[in-house]
Amino acid sequence: MIKTDVVVVGAGPTGLFCAHQLGIIGLKCEIVDNLDKIGGQCIELYPDKPIYDIPAVPECTGEELTNNLIEQIKPFKFNFHLNDRVQELRNENDNWIVKTTNGKKFQTPNVVIAGGVGSFEPRKFPTKSAEKFDGTSVLYSIKDKTIFKDKSVAIFGGGDSALDWAIELSNTSKVSLIHRRDEFRGAPASVQKIKELSEKNIINLFTKYSIKDVKGNGSLEEVEIKSEEGKSKILKADYVLGFFGLIMQLGPIAEWGLNLDKKAIPVNTENFETNKRGIFAIGDICTYPGKLKLILSGFHEGALAARGCFKYARPKEKYRFEFTTASSTIKDRLGVK
């Protein structure tokens, strides 16, 4: 069990700046994010797209913004728990017991939810029958590629993940690549390679096809694909892989009793606390009259939520407002003179 002052759920810009503000006022925090990297939507959805409305930064990309925020909180040496997701919140004697999917446990008086639109999850096949094989022979990511050796693998998708894995697995497996249109969005070199492998009959390429059904008694045996015109084909498959990118799902947050209003968490605008004591929500996931889904609003919300956390983390102390320009305590915390 890790004891801390605050657990921040979400390592997007809002969560990161809130962590900065927590560090400034002398609180410790642990940051959990479902992605394998820091930055949230800024990194996952638009790392290269310029952002023009960060105060005093005329233009920066999602990646630059993230890197600067990481730099800004470096002095506090906070722990990141990536590839992990907060699963359960339980109240226990004025503290929250926070459990993650990977089995980590935190004890904290405060939880700040900076979860954006939810956590990123792979988009799954729409076919109901695929659920039965989910995690065994219908997969959306690859952890151990050796399981595919000498097997028939049907790969769906047109992006880099689909192409790269089709190329890689074609060395040791019988690969079919199925995509809903003629064009691929993967890197041109990979697209070229796929075409070559297809001409040499190393990869079976099916464009303008999508999944219709997966079949098998006990273990997966075949996958049925259909064209736009309704033509269908049956392919032998031991494994079916889907690479359709990531979607955002609210996930377990919906079950924490936070009076959700259309996938958003209502908060007060004084300290962004929710209906539950010690649980705060900031950034895109919170809602209140006048809410703007801007990164700058998330920064403001994070600064106020951090002060809200102070009273539960240090119940016997009085919070004193200080400027970073003047306070020697803050400068100590930042490690500057």
């Binding site: 959805l45 729409p126 969005r185 990118g245 979607i247 955002m248």
Partner: protein, 120 residues
């Protein structure tokens, strides 16, 4: 000469009628201001079936709609990237579009879009 402000406003506030049809068949006829996207027309009028998680940045695929067949070819063509995002939509078809990329104008008056079963 006195200009008529009401007439002027009516002129700059030109609208197009868009029909949004939910997956369950429920229809919504909405007048959307020219210049707004078909996605914004749905969000502002609380029409269910369009999520628009990224807010119109062509960065997700949760404002996916099917355009009524005879309308599909009349629309301005997809820009680069839209099809890439549509690859990641729920059950994309030939007449799929991202509603955030369709900007309302007089030419779109009467457009009919169908919502998919779900966005995610």
């Amino acid at each position: 000469m006195i200009t008529c402000p009401i007439f002027f406003c009516a002129y700059i506030n030109a609208m197009a009628k868009i029909k949004y049809i939910e997956h369950n068949g429920k229809e919504h006829d909405i007048e959307v201001l020219n210049g707004f996207s078909v996605m914004e027309g749905a969000i502002q009028n609380d029409i269910p079936g369009i999520d628009a998680d990224c807010g119109g940045g062509m960065s997700c695929a949760t404002c996916h709609v099917y355009v009524k067949e005879d309308w599909y070819d009349k629309l301005p063509k997809k820009e680069m990237g839209e099809d890439d995002m549509l690859d990641q939509a729920y059950e994309p078809k030939q007449n799929s579009r991202l509603s955030c990329q369709m900007i309302v104008s007089d030419d779109l008056d009467g457009l009919v879009v169908y919502m998919p079963e779900k966005q995610v």
